[in-house]
Symmetry: C2
Subunit: 248 residues, 2 copies
Amino acid sequence: MSVTPPTAPSFVLVRPQMGENIGAAARAMLNFGLEHMRIVAPRDGWPNPAAVAMASGAGRVLDAARVSPDLPDALADCSFVFATTARDRDLTKPVYTPEAAMELAAQKIAAGQRVAVLFGPERAGLENDDISRANAIVSVPVNPEFASLNLAQCVLLMGYEWMRQQGNFTPVVQEMAGTDWAQHSEIEHLAKHYEERMEDAGFFYPEHKAASMKTNLRNMWSRLPLTRADVQMLHGTLRQMVRWKERG
Amino acid sequence: MSVTPPTAPSFVLVRPQMGENIGAAARAMLNFGLEHMRIVAPRDGWPNPAAVAMASGAGRVLDAARVSPDLPDALADCSFVFATTARDRDLTKPVYTPEAAMELAAQKIAAGQRVAVLFGPERAGLENDDISRANAIVSVPVNPEFASLNLAQCVLLMGYEWMRQQGNFTPVVQEMAGTDWAQHSEIEHLAKHYEERMEDAGFFYPEHKAASMKTNLRNMWSRLPLTRADVQMLHGTLRQMVRWKERG
């Protein structure tokens, strides 16, 4: 049991059945940097070779997993516990979306609290007796006519929301692949070059439509997010057309 | 091809290999109400019995799937295309998080546009040639030291973000299990009842601490989110203590 305050929630698999699913849950967790797994009364004992085989690169999550004989033992040092469940329960308990739950978890962890998220056995999910030990319910808002999340998928979605709450990634970035946005003068030059060649090529016809055709063309170049590399390439295509035309 | 404007994005599986993964992707989609699947050049042809077997309850997603020989055919009627990819590409292209991507998708779809999201083949993902046909990249922010999302998991996360963007669920609800929150007067009454019994029991001792002990107790009752059922139960415990005491 670690003594330093945790920086992430523990994910607690309650009475998991198939070793493969325990391994898949470990993989799902590690995708989002989560390494604290706890396991309560695994059906097939522990360690479980099928879990290890499935976990592959995420084996260290299993190696560090804490195995408990029952839920109270697994939760002894936790101060806030979420229970994941798909269906309504006859229990008075706040129900959070994954987003709201992981936001609350992040706040509590920042305040030095130890937070756990419970995941039930594959077939039936958590029992009301398990849920009665949790502070709150987390429910993934799935299609009510088709809810088929398996254990690792449920773990994956909670892990994803945890990583989202960390906010350590920007919503939109731009890969520039070594080039830069074209400046206005470069776009102007391109528009002019294009118009001249199209003029040469007799594109602006009939005459009474020529002015609006030019405006539309110029407007398009201005609107497009062109890079310097794009602009160079477009100049090149125009020059190539001329060469092609001049070859006759 | 439907003529009415779509209300959700199409998910396009590009050159998928295993039928099982196509079926699992259909399940992942239907969990979040997504039914428009397109499939480009599936390795094992179409229809695929392994896909059907895996899809089980989500078979209608496969039945309605549109199969294309190549990506341009699959995207012909789409006006905005996202390409999912895990690694950096040498392409100038905006990169969105799933959240930002599905927010933009929702805006475009609300404006009557047809939006597609591309998912690459299991082993290698989309090729740069595929990505060059997309308007933007979507990248799931996974642990850079362990990124192991499979096809259906990637579909699941995008579907989840799509449903989140629909905002048709409240972030936190409260299951009340047939009871209601206690009103202020009921909490007052409980606090008074408790204090009186504790007074009777000699709890507020030593005397110079009695006032602050009472304040703390009353403050606790006010702070707790108690239901009417909780309040009745707590009154009952106090009455039972009295009965127990009177039995001597």
